[in-house]
Amino acid sequence: MSVDTLFSPLWLSVQLAGVTTVLLMIIATPVAWWLAQTSSRWKPFVQATVALPIVLPPTVIGFYLLIVLGPAGAIGSWWVEMTGSALTFSFTGLVIASCLYSLPFAVQPLVVAFESLGRPNLEAAWTLGANRMDAFFSVALPLSMRGYLGAVVLSFAHTLGEFGVVLMVGGNIPGETRVISIAIYDQVESLNYSAAHQLSALLLVVAFIALFAMFFINRRWQQR
């Protein structure tokens, strides 16, 4: 097995997880902030929607995404019109799917962090002359760093291990959508166990390092 066939799927997975994680932090922050602050009657509705990907089998999410993102789907047809290429079976499509799939893993740690931060710190910031936006960036954000650490690592790791949704939406195009989990499945299907072993071990190590780093940093922050 060549180095490229081993590392290309891993690199693609890391790229996908990285882009997804960055986007998720931007998307999840206002959602989590709203959930932590609101007493709106829409809160349970949003909570249930955000949590759905935890409960649903990835194939169900993948199936609906395939329909919506497909060239005939609502978003997919618009995308084809705008860019000339299809969303399904593309890296961009995978990013969109991954964001949805990993959303609860980004939102939940942030909600916990924002809730534990509470109003008292924000009130103090306001009385010291900070407007809402300022108070968020100068007080809420730095005090929620552990929540962000958890959200980043969980989103990254969860996207890294994604399989069902990728298979439905992205297929198996080398360099475009053949992420490491798909590659492993592929090798097992063709009874190429040694390659499957190498890929699996690689993913195991990467996942372990990511989680270890989170708990290690978390401990350092706790002691500080």
Binding site: E123, W126, L128, G129, P142, L143
Partner: protein, 363 residues
């Protein structure tokens, strides 16, 4: 009162089982105490002034500037109200050190005066703490930082909501001298909420008494304390405050000789002699009354007085307001004593004052 120099407040706030209904003016100078039992609406009043609560109906005018007016829809957000706020808990930002916490306010608010940062840091004794993180501070130290932070955000006035309530007596004793100094320097007006009458008597010039969401008394500290018809100021809380000047100090007996408008008093210890008047607190429980001057008594302070008013208090007690020269004090005696001595308004008697608390002078 001059409109440019006060805070005019009118609020009507209705919550589940709580009503705030006030219409008052607070002076923008010295320290104004807000006293009352818990649940009286003291904290709600402060939160409304700071803009942390938005009552359905309210008007707030500070030194002529309208900060809110529900009839016209005017509303200044919290961060636009130049008011400092000291909460019951320090609420320091855990990710910033002491200096960072103090600069949080100074960087966001325009300073009009000179850089008095160093002065306030020195006044509150924070020089050694500037590099520390909030979790490395004691409760008293953290609250001192919170006070400095509020004072230095260039406020028109500072709201303090029971800043000592969450501290034990030792920590309170650590902070009170700093508040005394703040009072003596009187640079920024303070509205000081407390349910501790001793703190109020020690720190405040003006007193507002609240009960069940309403203002029940409002005036100078001395005048409100001797009103006697305010339930919140009855019982163990009853007492009065007068001013006295130091005459001399008896080193042998360790007593200070004071002069006040109604005569002379001896107080234990050595008071600082700098010519400025001392604030003397006399609890109503420490005052007893005699028809004739007692000839042989262990009580040092026996002064002639005239009964001005007699008012029933809780249980077997009665409050008696006495005039001593220009000053008024309150005595708390039993109903039976009143009857047996046949005390009535206008009687000339003698007041025995068992103990006088002198406000530590360090100005």
């Amino acid at each position: 009162m001059n409109a440019a120099n006060d805070i005019r407040i009118r609020y009507a706030l209705q919550r589940d089982n709580f009503t705030l209904d006030v219409d008052l003016e607070l002076p923008l100078r010295g320290i104004t105490g807000v006293f009352g039992p818990s649940g009286a609406g003291k904290t709600s009043l402060l939160r409304c002034i700071a803009g942390l609560e938005n009552p359905a109906s309210g008007k707030l005018v500070v030194a002529g500037d309208t900060w809110q007016d529900s009839s016209s829809g005017a509303w200044r957000a919290v961060h636009e109200r130049d008011v400092g706020y000291v909460f019951q808990e320090p609420r320091l930002f855990a990710h910033l050190n002491v200096r960072g916490n103090i600069e949080y306010g100074t960087r966001r608010r325009q300073h009009d005066g000179a850089a008095d940062v160093d002065h306030v840091i020195a006044m509150l004794g924070l020089e050694q703490l500037l590099g520390r993180k909030p979790d490395e501070l004691s409760g008293g130290e953290a609250q001192r930082v919170a006070i400095a932070r509020a004072l230095l955000c260039a406020p028109r006035f500072v709201l303090m909501d029971e800043p000592l309530a969450s501290l034990d007596q030792a920590r309170k004793d650590e902070i009170l001298p700093f508040l005394d100094r703040l009072h003596a320097e009187a640079e920024v007006p303070i509205v000081y909420v407390s349910h501790n009458i001793d703190e109020i008597c020690r720190l405040c010039d003006h007193l507002l008494v609240m009960d069940a969401g309403r203002v029940v008394a409002d005036g100078s500290l001395q005048s409100v304390l001797v009103q006697m018809d305010i339930p919140a100021l009855g019982g163990q809380q009853a007492g009065s405050v007068i001013q006295g000047n130091v005459r001399d100090y008896d080193e042998g007996d360790d007593l200070t000789h004071l002069q006040f408008s109604g005569g002379e008093l001896w107080v234990p210890g050595k008071a600082k002699i700098d010519g400025s008047p001392l604030r003397l607190r006399i609890r109503a429980n420490d005052v007893s009354l005699c028809r004739a001057r007692p000839l042989q008594s262990t009580i040092l302070n026996i002064v002639p007085a005239v009964v001005e008013e007699i008012q029933p208090d809780r249980g077997p007690s009665t409050l008696v307001r006495l005039v001593l020269g220009q000053d008024r004090i309150v005595a708390r005696v039993t109903r039976r004593s009143i009857r047996e001595l046949k005390l009535k308004t206008g009687d000339a008697i003698f007041a025995q004052i068992k103990s006088v608390a002198v406000k530590p002078s360090n100005s």
